[in-house]
Subunit: 356 residues, 4 copies
Amino acid sequence: MVVGIIGATGYAGAELARLLSGHSKIKKLALSSVSFEGDRIENVYPAFLGRISGKLLKAEEVIAASDVVFSALPHAVGEPFAAACIEKKIHFIDLSGDFRFGDDEAVYSEWYGKNYQFPDLHKTSIYGLPELNRNLIKDSKSKPLVIANPGCYPTGATLGIFPAIVKGLTGETPIIVNAVSGTSGGGREPSRSFHYSECADSVAPYKIASHRHAPEISRNLAAISQIAEGGSIPAPKVIFTPHLAPMNRGILSTIYIPLKEKFKKIEEIQKLYEDFYKDEPFVRVLPSGVYSAANRVRHSNFCDISVNLDIHGSTLIVVTAIDNMIKGASGQAIQNMNILFDYDERNGLEAIPMLF
Amino acid sequence: MVVGIIGATGYAGAELARLLSGHSKIKKLALSSVSFEGDRIENVYPAFLGRISGKLLKAEEVIAASDVVFSALPHAVGEPFAAACIEKKIHFIDLSGDFRFGDDEAVYSEWYGKNYQFPDLHKTSIYGLPELNRNLIKDSKSKPLVIANPGCYPTGATLGIFPAIVKGLTGETPIIVNAVSGTSGGGREPSRSFHYSECADSVAPYKIASHRHAPEISRNLAAISQIAEGGSIPAPKVIFTPHLAPMNRGILSTIYIPLKEKFKKIEEIQKLYEDFYKDEPFVRVLPSGVYSAANRVRHSNFCDISVNLDIHGSTLIVVTAIDNMIKGASGQAIQNMNILFDYDERNGLEAIPMLF
Amino acid sequence: MVVGIIGATGYAGAELARLLSGHSKIKKLALSSVSFEGDRIENVYPAFLGRISGKLLKAEEVIAASDVVFSALPHAVGEPFAAACIEKKIHFIDLSGDFRFGDDEAVYSEWYGKNYQFPDLHKTSIYGLPELNRNLIKDSKSKPLVIANPGCYPTGATLGIFPAIVKGLTGETPIIVNAVSGTSGGGREPSRSFHYSECADSVAPYKIASHRHAPEISRNLAAISQIAEGGSIPAPKVIFTPHLAPMNRGILSTIYIPLKEKFKKIEEIQKLYEDFYKDEPFVRVLPSGVYSAANRVRHSNFCDISVNLDIHGSTLIVVTAIDNMIKGASGQAIQNMNILFDYDERNGLEAIPMLF
Amino acid sequence: MVVGIIGATGYAGAELARLLSGHSKIKKLALSSVSFEGDRIENVYPAFLGRISGKLLKAEEVIAASDVVFSALPHAVGEPFAAACIEKKIHFIDLSGDFRFGDDEAVYSEWYGKNYQFPDLHKTSIYGLPELNRNLIKDSKSKPLVIANPGCYPTGATLGIFPAIVKGLTGETPIIVNAVSGTSGGGREPSRSFHYSECADSVAPYKIASHRHAPEISRNLAAISQIAEGGSIPAPKVIFTPHLAPMNRGILSTIYIPLKEKFKKIEEIQKLYEDFYKDEPFVRVLPSGVYSAANRVRHSNFCDISVNLDIHGSTLIVVTAIDNMIKGASGQAIQNMNILFDYDERNGLEAIPMLF
């Protein structure tokens, strides 16, 4: 199979190339880049020398050459390529935010400042969080699909809250998602926020009450509420605060879920979470006493979850950790590809977390 | 004036020595160390060569030589020295947790696993958060006092919540304090948690629902409630989660305060916070749009506060930043000394935050 | 094949387990640990959950169960296990310094402070730098062998100097190896030098003129001189200075090789290096203008080499980069295993360097 | 006294403002910025809130208002301001490279790609390394002077080699300066090299054999040779290799000085260095066994020097550490101002190194 990557020289695109190079079903990569068109990927990333090699083409050439296309472009520029893929009858897996809001163009427009260019595409696109929509993807994959790969923060947040909603634990008080991200989430373009001397040796919040991933998390929780107990559970509100920490990779989300009823024993909820995720290949509910940590999932596609109860027994403290570039971006995109093509969902994603 | 530091070779003790060397009223430091008794401070910390010099004595010798004593010992070993200072009629400023719970020995025993050795000392000791207890310290300083210097996390948390309680904004839903600390808070003794390869390039929580600073924060909020509006405001509950981040210094506390009533305009609360702290020499309520960041207070005695409202208008998101070793430990201790001796509260604490 | 790892809970042992889990010829790992005997590897390293699992045995049990044994023990304790393996007629690949000096017990004793326990083993052991001794290993592997896996610094230094000696470029002035290591080289045991607050945000030398890897480098250069041009080239002297930098992995060696004769054109030497290593699977001579960097080889078994000439044309400045835990330890050990068993030398070592 | 800073919003300019705020002789700062003209310094650096405040003027306004002017502009734009200051009869202390080559315009042009605009100014400018030219500055200060503040790398390199040349230890083999810098040396403008994800957790060389500080170091060594023993000592050649490490501040220079004659005892050279610098307020020759480390001088104006001998007794290994932004830039500039105005050389520069 030939796999295309549009936007291959950004961090998510390059990470896709790296991970896909270890995928057993892939014969060839076709890569595009606007900034480096005509150059070679191994010149842009000399770390790839001897392992990944290829000329950087135009996006159109990539689409023409490929059996499936990943798009790692910035927001608001990829729709025409999605349309071209659907027309060519191949799947399009999009890592931008463009297709994450389905037919809810109003929310997209409010947060991304753009309207849809191809509204029909959004009606049939699927939000590619496998733990939530695996069956939907499987059932729809006979026709060409646009998969909206989830945002990094929404992945860590949603997986931590998912069982609590389904099992009816959540109440009316807003859930708080306090998340800390590594710097690779900011991409490859230099800017003050990610200038070493400005962000090293410090931690700080950013975009409080104004980050685009907040409505995406809310939308996910609403979707979960609808599938839980026949839709009788109200969608919980969420407050989301992102922070930047001096680490290359990883998102640690500390999630405070006010419980509908007090619990005395965390063991029950621990069991509930373990059962809920027991068949998931990439979710690990950690044993009691082991906390999620960004470096425990580093370079893997895992989402680690630790489940805790506050002193009062009234709030669940769920901590999730993902590698923002893998489960939070390129790895999850490959997981979606594996589902689309009936490959082993672990193919290309077998990396064991790096200890250091 | 001769100032004594017991436990001068730990991080808090050494930081005291460094800061006190810039204090205009201090003629001499007397230093003790159990681990390095007989050696010299500049051998333990060669960075001090040519600036801070002195033989490391016994604690008793330090007390005998000093006009005021700081204790930077671990918990549960300093009470006899406090007693000796009071007997000698000099003030004792304690950086451990031993005196932070006043006459509430039950709470101390529950969290620290020890009983009081000199119960009378605890009845008259004062919790040395100047913004809360400055007048109490001023009024009591004619007799020898034990000052309980606040914990690092409680300082950042309490200062962020203080105006909200006093102004009657808090409701019944628990306040959440999600805090991230630098590594110097772990002290000088090597351990796995602070081993570079284990904590670099990662962020993780620790001691969820079980950190000793949780009851200290709760106690502070209760104390504030009692002084606010004649004690009619119920003390808010608090959920506290500490995290470790790869930075040398700093504590960033992201505090979620559910509001009793919805607010539409953050400007009102911003104004309220600004007015509340307008005379405080070390609290900076940041202008709207500027967020607290650990590196904005690095190496200073400032507590920076930024005030934000969530999307729903129902929760205040207050972010505070302190240097855990200065306002969170040694700097605040010196601030307390300055109050005790009627010195300019800024003396020795004029360092401007380091940009990088 | 069952592969044994003695000392599996140290960093090098755990890294072996991680890498070997991706090796296609390995059915099972047998792991031992003195510190955690009876416990399970996934409890010691929760990052391994769901991927690497196994009870920690005694070293003797590991030897009994295995077809080849890696030893990641500290220096001076592994000889009896080597002897047991040879007796059982299986290969023993040792990551400690014990067998790196062959029959030159005097040098070993001088630098390691111990005598050989099984002198005969040292006579037939082979120094496992594949680029130097691949054929020797291949030719000897029919009988059970002790392979002395090279030290991390000597690997980076030797590969950078190797072609210069063989091609007769070196003169009498000592070669200088100025090397900077990441912290994982210090192992898993906490100590002051690797305490986060002591080593973060700083760079410093250590063990100047007294590091055990200095005689190992010298020995390698002498061995190379003997094979070059019939042994007519005198072994260059070397000055080696190690430094610690705040990074988890990697060794960057900046090597100054005074040239026997002045060169005008770096292109000639570049070509010479490229030709020399053209068939090596893990040595990359970087194109002119691209410098070796620790993060360009991160998590791979590559040794990157960049070749430069000083302004005067009299000194070659060769910069090499390796991942100290992979090419500098566990990866190279697996490379040796692959040679011993006629496996593809890349098996288990195909990881592409991580960009960030 | 009113002190002007041209280019106050770059890192060196802001650091000047921070340090000068602690100088007892300074009444007021006048600040200029091209990028932020009209804005306020505390908006550009909110860390300064409540401590440093002021409108950002034009350079001409700053000159008009000031009794002495520091220029922290990039290279090749400051000469007209220097001329204006000299015309106004006030001293001009320049942190750029423009005046570091005196009347040797050819070298400047070769390395900086520009010609002198005001050649006369360069004839009377003085290279402001106080340890080398203190008396020259003192003797010339009655007329308005241009002081060329040394580069960061040349400061650390020159101070490490200075005594060796003067005492006749150096021979003909080139001296090697292997230096590692923190990121603040790259300034405030974001760029790929200093993008967190590109430089964190790694070490790499840059500009091998092509850094502008190489000719500056050579020039310094030549100047020293001329003053040593009547100029009979030939100027040593130097090979200089800069590296970038993931730390905010600091330059560690590991300097290899081939000795004219072999030495057996490092104690002699240690003594020689100690005596040479015994009256210098900011040079610390560390006791034997204590190595220079970037964090031992952090935030101070110290240059730490440790003196070591290689195994063969033929090469001196001198390691120097400075804070690149203080002794390597703004601190040294203030030291020069103190000499120019007969202030205590320590004024404004009394900060004790930060331990962590």
